[in-house]
């Protein structure tokens, strides 16, 4: 991953305002590298950090983080060997079984993930899967609603990182479990849309083990001079492909050992 910044402070603020406008008012913009072809992943994270600062300044609370690009197929597609990360705010959370508005999103898609809630601070470098499990209070099933702000969901890694990893909304629920009580590697997941199975997988799809994605997330945070606070809610990355949703759709994500998470979408 290139850690070199190429953008000036002014460029970062400018791009951040562009992304924030698209996120808050739900419109699509061209990917940022169209204008800044030399933009690096580090530039993307600089824009994301500025975005986080602005959300916090406007009163949002940081609830946790998410890992993205955690499947081998997606990483190969993007030409990277580490996942990307994004932040999760309290106002992005939606309760289980709620009606979620789509009019304040551009082109939302849903994916099933295993989420972790921590009870110890986690810091890199060299954070491992075992470190993550040792710092986990419980795991629970979650659905992430991603919404790239880029036209046609077309982006590259610096752009998607700047857009906070396409984070939009998230729903967690089901049944909380101690990680030691279940096999986190082989959990089956079935996603149903309007009663029909549309995606399936097992948790090993996420870097071989979902805790591996959390460890990598902690190491990326550390590179940015951050740590993962105790009490964080962390989503480990999509087990299933991302499925588009529209008003009227109902989603149920069923997880082996973890129960299910449901929601419906309205205008």
């Amino acid at each position: 991953m290139s850690l070199d910044l190429t953008l000036s402070r002014e460029d970062i603020v400018r791009l951040c305002e562009r992304v924030e406008g698209a996120q808050r008012r739900a419109y699509a913009i061209p990917k940022l590298t169209d204008e800044y072809p030399a933009m690096t992943i580090a530039d993307g994270y600089a824009v994301q950090a500025e975005l986080r600062r602005r959300y916090l300044a406007s009163g949002s609370r940081l609830v946790g983080w998410k890992a993205g690009l955690t499947s081998k197929a997606k990483m190969q597609q993007m030409g990277v060997h580490v996942p990307s990360i994004g932040f999760l705010m309290d106002d992005m959370w939606r309760p289980e079984n709620s009606a979620i508005k789509t009019s304040d999103m551009v082109h939302p898609r849903v994916e099933c993930e295993v989420a972790f809630v921590t009870n110890k601070t986690l810091k890199g470098p060299n954070c491992t899967r075992q470190d993550v499990l040792d710092a986990t209070d419980y795991v629970l099933p979650a659905v992430e609603i991603i919404d790239s702000r880029f036209s046609g969901f077309k982006f590259d890694l610096p752009s998607v990182v700047a857009d906070n990893g396409s984070s939009a909304r998230y729903v967690a629920g089901g049944r909380a479990r101690y990680p030691a009580d279940i096999d986190l590697r082989t959990l089956g997941v079935v996603m149903e849309k309007n009663g029909e199975i549309i995606a399936m997988g097992a948790s090993a799809a996420v870097l071989g083990h979902p805790a591996e994605a959390i460890a990598m997330l902690v190491n990326i945070l550390t590179e940015q001079g951050e740590e993962l606070a105790a009490g964080s809610f962390v989503m480990s990355g999509g087990i299933t492909e991302a499925i588009p949703v529209k008003p009227g759709d109902s989603i149920v994500a069923r997880f082996q050992e973890l129960g299910s998470v449901s929601m419906r979408f309205v205008e």
Partner: protein
């Protein structure tokens, strides 16, 4: 299709199996062939194996996943018959030299402790009548040139049965969520694909219920002790000499298999 032709095609497929060679798709030669005709051809092909000394030990269910159903344009499963010559024990290498154009599939196997005589069988009866389930690999193979199969071709060719291996680990379907159990497939130590039990007709128990009802309507016995390969939970996996596959069913355990030798194609 008249009995002579059914016999002729069943014998032809048996000879192809015996000689590890392939034949042209039946549907190309007999455009009017029905699925019922195809099952009669299958019965003849299997009858030849039994006459040569094998025993019927179970059934396999195929065409259970949506991608395969879409590919074949058929929205129901099919079945084939498992014979004693198809069985490998976990730990034995699978000899590709005895196969033509093999591919592996990861599945959940059922072993019955009671007869299941359809019609009228539900998924609830399947759980009631199941002794245990185990992870397994089915190595499918085709006696049809280049796998150019339509549904009639694969049904006639004993649902493309090759050989199979059942993992030593056993689970009770009352203690295991067979619908949501994850399926993690690794090839040579690397993750190959993941899925879940629901990939098979919404639940493997649904596929076994379909089988019991279909066999019942055809008058084919379905007895306690039989093995049922309930349908693939993975994509088709190409295998060559030296490959090793491991499938792990969440909450149940793994089946591990190694391949040696060279297949005919």
């Amino acid at each position: 299709m008249d009995d002579n032709k059914i016999r002729q095609y069943g014998d032809e497929l048996y000879e192809a199996w015996l000689g590890r060679s392939t034949v042209q798709p039946l549907l190309l030669r007999e455009p009017e062939i029905t699925i019922d005709d195809a099952y009669k051809i299958q019965l003849r092909m299997v009858e030849r194996r039994v006459q040569a000394g094998e025993k019927i030990v179970g059934k396999k269910i195929g065409v259970t996943s949506k991608p395969v159903q879409d590919f074949l344009g058929v929205y129901q499963p099919d079945f084939g018959q498992l014979t004693s010559g198809m069985v490998y024990q976990e730990g034995e290498d699978i000899d590709l030299g005895k196969l033509i154009q093999p591919k592996a599939e990861a599945e959940l196997a059922f072993v019955l402790k009671e007869d299941l005589i359809g019609p009228g069988i539900t998924a609830m009866d399947v759980i009631r009548a199941t002794d245990y389930v185990s992870p397994c690999f089915e190595i499918v193979d085709s006696r049809i040139t280049d796998w150019k199969i339509k549904i009639q071709d694969t049904v006639a060719d004993n649902a493309s049965c090759g050989v199979y291996v059942i993992g030593k680990t056993r689970g009770d379907p009352r203690k295991l969520d067979i619908t949501l159990a994850g399926m993690v497939l690794e090839k040579n130590g690397e993750l190959f694909s993941t899925s879940a039990g629901a990939a098979v007709q919404g639940s493997p128990a649904n596929a076994v219920a379909w089988l019991a009802n279909t066999l019942g309507s055809l008058g084919i016995p379905f007895r306690a002790g039989e093995v049922i390969l309930s349908g693939s939970q993975s994509a088709l996996i190409p295998v060559v000499d030296g490959d090793e596959l491991v499938c792990t069913v969440g909450g149940l355990g793994s089946c591990r298999v190694k391949f040696s030798g060279r297949s005919a194609v």
